[in-house]
Symmetry: C2
Subunit: 404 residues, 2 copies
């Protein structure tokens, strides 16, 4: 709640965009807590923070956890922040119980996960995992033309450590990320822990359907080339295509603009977005094919014309099977109702998975609502997730009680 | 073409909004032409122009014709202007052939038919026919807060003559209006003359469908309350309802706005317009009922909620049967391919019909396209319409050649 007060909104949410002064204050606070917990904090060239609690064997790669503390413009208290603070609580608990781990334990605070101010999203972890270059990320600019490079300098978080594993940053022995689910599945199933086996692949498209603008009054139904009525079938196809690949298919038309958007004019053009997701790249390819077939069936040159452009193609991510199993066993060992789930959204863990064995732990959020100021989660569920995180970190790092 | 040069656009259209300085210049030009043709021009309190060519019997009510010369912002050369200039050509032809009519012939130029700058639309004829009061019309203001009263004074067209028949303006013995069809029916039928039997009634609605905004990724298909997917069925119903009342039913969703209109968010709310039209008020009432039933079927409190509000209810207009028959016979007498049609759009004639026997003559426009800078019509078709207008005016007014 103290962290949430930085950028806290009247409606109980958080507005803390990446690399703003509010982000600096949040980083300073978390950094202070981590240093008070005895960690050595370093900052890399994209502004990611890494707080290390030393292990008995400094030659072992770290067992890492973390998430992000930037938010959406109308975001909530828990998205990202929970994963960071759950990791802090693990470190404090290790201290409280005088536990020494064999491998170092490292807490990561990734830069600009949300992508609200700067794209690409999941920027810090993307550089770390090699999804794009450090230069590409540093050159991104916001609506006011401020670059990431300038913003990092302005808030004092342009660090010296290498940011990408391919440039010498340390790969982790394991990376665990605790996160609110941001969806309704756990709540619907009555589960406390989501054992995240994978993250959905995503394919995004821009579609334009063109007909003929005409007067709503004088134009009989049979002489119309109504772009909106034609579009409906394709929008319905997006829903059907996703349902045909249940349970892990998703199909969404989130954005639609009608032209000229006048009450008594038959629409001449409709532009809309399509977002298809699936955990299985082969099935996602099949959904892509079905979308192209549906678009092709609608396309009649000179009458109704359909233009379909892919704008994002992001493969599915399978998390590390043995770490996923470790999360599942930890939930079972604590008698926490758990189910296997997939992550429908992107997370920093999707990028760390490219260079380090990775798994995620989901806890429910109220009503499945996230990216919203009313985002909420129960203390009991958040504690359960932190307990599971604690157990998998201990088990993976190896541990013993410190001699008195 | 000379009139079209006032407000002419680079793309060949016309932008001559009501009561602007361009409208003044167009009025001045037409008024000059009418005075040169020997007419006495008077201006009424809403700025309508009436140009009278005297008849042999001044006690008879005038046989009137006309239309408007204001345009849409991206309008064409023919919408309205054709009816005014066809009437001017009739008057010039009467002069050329030294024809004396028994009843006076009057050319009307109605103020603000388009309604682009000031609402209500069909303002001048609406006041004339008593659809709304003179004060209501004079008090309407544009986006800059300029009222019709101020704009009329500014361009020097705030006249003294009474504007409404109920306030003492003269009712016509008959009113004929020639107009481009603004639809594709004549062209599709290969007809030159549309004998307009009626104008469609119109019922307009604002509809809002509310579901639940949620993330496109983490929300499985079966747990969604997607307002857009729900809306599709209602939009399709609008089309179906109109087709079930063929050939004179029309149903259009012209305007649609999706909220929050974000690519990876399931729409939580969709607002859209519905425009239903029919020439038969009983059938229009049946369409209204079908729309309410479709909306009711979609409405599930707490899941998908539908709000349906009627915003316009405009009854159908039947034109005067004997004048309509006169138009039909005139077309036949000149061997002009003709069909009976209904007017899908509103016209000044719809309001004159409230106080004077009225009929309309349609001629084709290219591709049925109107309210568009590329609006076009062939000289031959325009001439054919003027010939029919000449014949019905003569026949209705009574005539003889002037003694030399």
């Amino acid at each position: 709640m103290e962290l949430a007060s930085i950028g806290g909104t009247a409606r109980g949410g958080v507005c803390r965009l990446a690399l703003t002064d509010l982000d600096r204050r949040a980083r300073d606070l978390v950094r202070c807590w981590l240093e008070q917990a005895g960690c050595a904090v370093r900052v890399d060239a994209i502004g990611n923070l890494f707080a290390r609690r030393v292990g008995l064997d400094s030659s072992l790669p770290a067992v890492a956890t973390g998430s992000h503390i930037d938010s959406q413009p109308t975001g909530g208290k828990f998205d990202g922040a929970y994963g960071v603070l759950a990791g802090l609580e693990v470190i404090r608990t290790l201290n409280d119980y005088r536990i020494e781990t064999r491998a170092p334990v490292e807490l990561c605070v990734w830069t600009n996960e949300e992508g609200s101010r700067f794209v690409p999203v999941m920027m810090g972890s993307g550089v770390y995992g090699g999804a794009f270059t450090l230069d590409h990320a540093l050159s991104a600019s916001d609506h006011d033309g401020v670059t990431v490079r300038q913003a990092l300098n302005a808030i004092g978080y342009a660090g010296q450590a290498p940011a990408a594993v391919c440039d010498g940053a340390e790969a982790f022995g394991a990376y665990f990320e605790a996160h609110i689910e941001q969806g309704p599945v756990l709540e619907a199933a009555g589960a406390v822990i989501g054992v995240v086996t994978a993250a959905l692949g995503q394919r995004w498209y821009d579609v334009t359907v063109t007909g003929q603008e005409a007067h709503a009054g004088p134009t009989p139904m049979e002489l119309r080339r109504d772009a909106l009525q034609a579009t409906l079938r394709l929008v319905q196809a997006v829903d059907r295509i996703a349902r045909e690949e249940a349970p892990h298919g998703r199909g969404t038309v989130g954005c639609m603009n009608v032209f000229p958007n006048s009450r008594n004019t038959i629409p001449g053009r409709v532009a809309f977005s399509v977002d298809l997701r699936h955990v299985d790249d082969a099935k996602l390819a099949r959904m892509d094919e079905a979308l192209h077939i549906a678009a092709g069936l609608l396309h009649h040159p000179g009458s109704i014309e359909v233009d379909l452009q892919e704008v994002v193609n992001f493969p599915a991510t399978s998390f590390d099977a043995s770490l996923v199993e470790r999360v599942r066993r930890a939930a079972q060992a604590q008698n926490l109702a758990n189910i296997d789930v997939v992550s429908g959204a992107g997370h920093d863990a999707v990028y760390t998975a490219r260079v380090s064995p990775t798994a995620m732990i989901f806890v429910p959020c109220k009503g499945g609502i996230s990216h919203n100021e009313i985002e909420d989660a129960s203390p009991g569920d958040l504690e359960a997730g932190a307990q599971v995180l604690m157990q998998v970190v201990l088990e993976t790092a190896g541990w013993q009680l410190r001699a008195r």
